[in-house]
């Protein structure tokens, strides 16, 4: 079965913004509501991988990344996120460590 692919820079914006829609354009909340969550659910239900490419943007704020990956984990749990999501970040490989931390910390919120 073919994996699903999503690129933040090509499918959403080269200038990812804040955490919430009320804070400004191209927020993580907007990304999740318009594109990301639907694809994640599809991948999860069909037992596929969702490959998200973070390259090609001008940079990410902590809130955007935390809302995207941490928020996803708070909703679906670390296990589902880890088995479904594959993250590509060749420009900024260190982001993968940051994101693992957000997922780990957010899972505590999911378990509660």
């Amino acid at each position: 079965m073919a994996d699903l692919n999503i690129s933040v820079s090509k499918d959403f914006s080269t200038t990812p913004g804040p955490r919430y829609i009320k804070e400004g354009d191209f927020s993580a909340e907007e990304f999740r509501k318009t594109i990301f969550d639907a694809k994640f659910k599809e991948a999860l239900s069909e037992n596929k991988k969702l490959i998200i490419d973070l390259d090609g943007t001008l940079g990410y704020g902590t809130s955007f990344l935390e809302e995207l990956f941490g928020g996803l984990t708070r909703e679906y749990g670390q296990e589902n996120v880890n088995k479904t999501l594959k993250i590509i970040s060749k420009e900024e490989e260190y982001l993968l460590d940051d994101i693992r931390g957000y997922i780990r910390d957010a899972n505590k919120g999911h378990e509660q």
Binding site: T15, P18, K22, Y60, G61, S63
Partner: protein, 207 residues
């Protein structure tokens, strides 16, 4: 090749040749002393020349000069590597400090601008530390991890407003407003980064 460089090379070569020749003769007479034959200066000078001795001498001199030059070259290459890495780290430290000052000068910051500048800085840092890992791996790699945490902390302090958290950072219309407390936390980080970079430079220099 410039004349001055060529002259220096010739002078170096002659210097090492003379030094080696002197060492050879000094070693010969020392050997005579050690085996107790004493030293006597004959009135007659024996001018016979053993070709094998001559060849051996020439080969020995050649090898000595070659080894010295090779060691010099390797030593110079190593010094150049160290200097380049140290220069790169120094430049990063300066750039990082300047960038933070520039950012904090502004009363309201465009989030996209901050994201972009911090991405560039952090990528630059990792590019340098990857080179260090490749050419002069550190005995204590945790100092690099700590530095990366400090640099990431700047991004967190400038762009992270956790859900439910209030105060000292607000984002509205894509712009960041920082309260004094958040600003002073950010201001402290360039000093920590400076200290970390100093540690790395000292370790590179000692290698």
């Amino acid at each position: 090749m410039p004349t001055k460089v060529m002259n220096n090379k010739i002078i170096n070569f002659l210097f090492y040749l003379i030094l080696f020749s002197f060492g050879l003769w000094a070693g010969f007479y020392l050997l005579l002393l050690l085996i107790g034959n004493g030293i006597s200066v004959s009135k007659q000078v024996n001018l016979s020349l053993n070709p094998f001795d001559l060849i051996s001498l020439v080969v020995t001199i050649f090898l000595a000069v070659y080894v010295i030059k090779k060691l010099n070259k390797e030593s110079e290459a190593e010094r150049i590597e160290k200097d380049l890495l140290i220069e790169d780290l120094g430049n990063f430290k300066t750039e990082f400090g300047k960038e933070i000052i520039e950012i904090l000068k502004q009363s309201s910051l465009k989030l996209i601008f901050v994201n972009s500048r911090l991405k560039t800085l952090r990528m630059r840092f990792h590019s340098t530390t990857n080179l260090i890992e490749k050419y002069k791996p550190l005995n204590d790699p945790s100092v690099v991890a700590r530095l990366d945490t400090d640099i990431r902390d700047v991004r967190d302090l400038l762009t992270d407003n956790p859900e439910g958290a209030k105060g000292n950072l607000e984002i509205s219309g894509g712009r960041i407003s920082l309260e004094a407390e958040r600003k002073s936390q950010i201001e402290a980080i360039p000093n920590k980064v400076s200290e970390g970079i100093f540690q790395i430079i000292v370790e590179i220099n000692r290698k």
